[in-house]
């Protein structure tokens, strides 16, 4: 039993089996391994397959001999992602896979590695107008601080989670929970978050957010007042007045600036609630799940009697919610009472357009991290040259085949939309830090020039021949093919 305690054995704590794993071996699950003394998640190494992107989305094994038609040898249809590739960190050694392939007559090299990111986090964009919490307030998971509320954007609330201060700067438990939260968000799982003096939310990448137990369906195109502004022209002449019912700001066409500019006549309409500025009303009803986020199901309940001084019989009135999901059309009778009528053809289009402009509410998760010196050293003997090459767009950076946005300025700080990456692309090490795939693709000549580990370049065919632990996935159609050589017009 003595060898159990040799320093090259790690004890995995990912599950209660608590395997002792020796250097170079995997635990009982085959998912966690000891790589150079670090516990690393080693799910099957994922290759992207462009040829298959039109067909079956998931091909669990490529290695059936019958499938080998030589086509793959051309190389341009298979891209080796870094997912499951492992890493050589913390050693100053070439990356685990440096793969050459010829694409459209150009020799390309892809350096494939998994990076261990202790400087990393996620930016969450949550499509909702609901107040989640004040800017700078802490965001907590399982009671631990994992990030904060940052500057809101149009129609969306923004959270910034993770980062080195939460991962390693706080208590052990804060670091562990932060790591777990980031990992789950990046791998597309549901995460519960609570904001100090604010809302509790449940979010997952690419899914509608759930705020205080209520699922957001659609982003409004704007508040009631803004909707008046956007559609006033389309309504003018077809209807005498429009009320856009909204829990936040209900808009009234005839009183609104946009209506005045068009010369819409006063209609004597009167609205419950608190008037803010002309044509804009707060608190027309209580918040709820009815019209425009209010609790009403009959829109007439927010109207007072029409003023006889201005109103006239047969006056045409449209009432619609901010998402266009609810609407009603009325004409006034001789006693100036609204009577519901069929929505005229000419107005149907404008209601449909409001609806069309309300996009589905989603949560977006962008992973953001910085490729440190030792990661870059796995690519080239002179790490700064890689930075320069990336900045000059000679080197394309992808994460699991998904395009990464590179921040201008020093270092290689990148952001990537996790929904464009293959499933479960992220792992962690107990440091705690996240393990994320990263690939650098560039022309072979350029690779030599920047001091790349040219001696370690293996042809793609040789990588494909290693039949162990590999998984072939279809590439996502929305991603540009990572192996396409850079041209001036290529997207970054």
């Amino acid at each position: 039993m003595t060898d159990v305690f040799r320093p090259d054995t790690v004890r995995c704590d990912a599950c209660p089996v608590l395997c002792y794993i020796k250097r170079g071996h995997a635990g009982a699950c085959d998912r966690y391994a000891n790589i150079e003394g670090q516990l690393v998640r080693v799910d099957p190494h994922i290759l992207l397959d462009r040829a298959k992107s039109q067909g079956t989305p998931l091909v669990p094994f490529l290695e059936r001999e019958g499938d080998w038609d030589g086509k793959i040898m051309k190389g341009q249809d298979t891209f080796v992602t870094a997912i499951g590739a492992g890493t050589t960190y913390p050693d100053y050694k070439p990356a685990p896979f440096i793969v050459s392939s010829e694409v459209e007559g150009v020799d390309m090299v892809t350096v494939v590695t998994e990076g261990i990111f202790s400087y990393c986090g996620v930016k969450l964009k949550i499509d909702t107008d609901r107040h989640l919490g004040a800017e700078r307030n802490l965001v907590r998971a399982q009671g631990e601080p994992v990030g904060h509320v940052t500057t809101a954007e149009y129609g969306s609330q923004m959270l910034s989670l993770g980062g080195v201060h939460h991962l390693t700067g706080g208590t052990k438990s804060e670091g562990r929970v932060t790591c777990e939260t980031l990992l789950d968000l990046c791998n597309g799982k549901d995460v519960e978050l609570a904001i100090d003096q604010g809302a509790s939310i449940r979010v997952a990448a690419g899914q509608p957010p759930v705020v205080n137990g209520q699922r957001e369906e659609r982003m409004r195109v704007g508040c009631g007042s803004a909707t008046i502004g956007m559609f006033a022209k389309q309504w003018f002449g077809k209807v005498d007045d429009v009320v856009v019912v909204d829990d936040h700001i209900t808009g009234v066409l005839s009183e609104h600036q946009a209506g005045k500019l068009l010369g819409v006549r006063e209609t004597g309409i009167a609205i419950h609630g608190r008037r803010s500025t002309p044509g804009r009303y707060f608190q027309v009803a209580e918040p709820g799940t009815g019209w425009g986020g209010t609790n009403i199901s009959d829109p007439l309940t927010i109207l007072k009697a029409f003023k006889p001084k201005f109103a006239w019989p047969h006056l045409r009135l449209l009432m619609v919610s901010t998402t266009g999901e609810q609407y009603a059309y009325y004409e006034l009778d001789e006693e100036l009472r609204p009577v519901e009528k069929e929505l005229p053809e000419g107005l149907k289009e404008s209601v449909a357009r409001i609806r069309e402009n309300c996009e589905p509410a989603l949560t977006t998760v962008l992973f953001m991290g910085g490729a440190g010196g030792s990661l870059r050293a796995g690519v080239t003997e002179n790490p700064v040259r890689l930075t320069e090459s990336v900045k000059r767009k000679l080197t394309r950076v992808t994460c699991g085949g998904a395009p990464a946005y590179i921040w201008p300025g020093g270092g290689i700080t990148f952001m990537v939309d996790v929904t464009r990456m293959p499933e479960n692309a992220f792992g962690y090490v107990p440091t705690p830090a996240l393990v994320a795939p990263i690939e650098f693709t560039l022309k072979k000549d350029d690779y030599a020039v920047l001091g790349g580990h040219v001696d370690y370049v293996r042809p793609l065919a040789a990588v494909l021949e290693e039949k162990e632990r590999r998984r072939q996935l279809a590439s996502l159609p929305q991603n540009p093919w990572p192996l396409k050589p850079y041209t001036a017009s290529s997207e970054s």
Binding site: A14, C15, H25, G27, L58, E63, R64, G66, R176
Partner: protein, 310 residues
Amino acid sequence: MREPALIRMLPDGRRLHLHDGPIDLIIEANGPKQNVAAAYEAAARRFVSILDQLCAELPLLRSQARKNSPLPGGPIARRMFAAVAPYSDLCFITPMAAVAGAVAEDVLEVMTCAATLDRAYVNNGGDIALHFVPQRSYRVGMIERPDHPSLFGSLELSASDFVRGIATSGWRGRSFSLGIADAVTVLAENAAAADAAATVIANAVNLPDHPAITRVPARQIAPDSDLGDLLVTRDVGPLTPSETRSALAKGVEMAELLIAKKLINSAALCLEGQTSVVVIPSPSRRARDLFSSSKHNTIQGSLLCNSANT
């Protein structure tokens, strides 16, 4: 950090995927919609406590099973014990030899207790527990090498076959093997029994002291392996056809013994492209035909053993 168990439907919307540490279950049930939902819910509820429960008794489950071993407390651990008990005076075996089958069986039982199902299976990494009502059947494909997943045979199972468990063992699989079989697939009355038997038969397929076979003490690879310092197979070099036949013959002998002891129903053994099939001798049991839908011709007789190149 303890990763929570994963419970999700697979993208096909039909199968349930449960994952926790080394346990990975693919489950499918057929029947009225609400029954399937109830069965899946019961499976998930049961599943989340399984690994912790097993790990609480891990030292006992990793020790050699002997006649006088203390009994474990957990229901799955007890199934494991029961499945390996018949082998305790035959060879070295630990209850871990039946863990995958026992988990599959337990989850299936919870499902069939929760709702009436026409048909269901729980596949725990190739060790499968089956349930079906009369008239329903399952078609099962067999692969010999997980790294070259081509079918070497398939079989059709129905309620009257008395087979409710299928298990496969071999040195290429996830668990260590003392033998050199690429794959031994066993059909038995339950999954835990199939699992234990597949392990024992795969261990028996062997060529002791053959220079082309690389063996390493289990503990050298996995410090906490239940096999301790026993030599486990890490690589099998090229063998001559007659060596392959003689290795397979040892496995066939073991399979025949287990059939005679009524521990298993039938077995298919694969090594270096040769396949031997052993089924129950009595012609009254349909078992004989079970493997006959495989692409190999089975030879009629009291014991059906055949070899074929794949």
